[in-house]
Symmetry: C2
Subunit: 138 residues, 2 copies
């Protein structure tokens, strides 16, 4: 994650304790925290950090392309630090567990011109749904 911090500094990001903590919290694979979860973990490391700062920082990370906003859950947005390898998501319909997945195939090519309605299509987002091992045995 020091990578991320370096990259950010390179882009003229002003480095503060708060921003560092938010970036640290978002480290890892299969990490998909809500803003509130990020805030809770950030508070553990830096008790004075405010909710607004967490929201601001997350928003900045998203617009810098370092973090993805995911909305698999229909309530809160989730933040996914794995922005540099394109991927999709697999979500447990019951408990909400999320995995990053990499389907084969090229879904963009699967949308015929006749179904594009004149749009310039640039991206697809796929959300697989099912039951995770835990929830399917229960």
């Amino acid at each position: 994650m020091s990578d991320l911090l370096g990259r950010l500094r390179g882009r003229g990001w002003r480095m503060t304790a708060q921003r560092r903590v938010v970036a640290e919290v978002l480290d890892g694979e299969h990490v998909h925290l809500t803003a509130d979860e990020v805030h809770a973990r950030a508070v553990a490391k830096l008790p004075e950090i405010s909710r607004a700062t967490v929201y601001n920082t997350l928003g900045e990370l998203v617009s810098l392309g370092e973090v993805l906003e995911v909305s698999t859950d229909k309530r809160a947005k989730r933040y996914d630090p794995n922005a540099h390898r394109p991927h999709h998501h697999l979500v447990c319909a019951q408990c909400g567990a999320i995995r990053d997945v990499h389907p084969t195939g090229n879904p963009l090519a699967d949308l015929p011109d006749s179904e594009r309605f004149g749009f310039t299509v640039s991206d697809v987002e796929m959300t697989y749904r099912g039951l995770c091992p835990n929830c399917s045995t229960a």
Copy 2:
């Protein structure tokens, strides 16, 4: 849409002016209204209808499988009456316009076992993003 009303009555739904109005508002192709938009249009036809009733009715339509909940936009849920032909969505990243689309191919088959993490996968939801004709010329 009289179809829908008939089907609902057949399932023991008590028919009220409010429910009829909500069902009417949701008629059509490429319709993806938020709950508030549904409410606004319903009020135009039946001024006394309350927000809670619209939410209740939408929720019932969803659990009866007559209407789909879509969350292409990261804010409010949208309601899609086209529940009987499976389809995906194409969204304008700028103005939010939504079209129903039918890609070829079978995305479920594109998720290898090694990427399933033991889940029982049952469904995929695809959201294509791009710019609509209007927004891409601007």
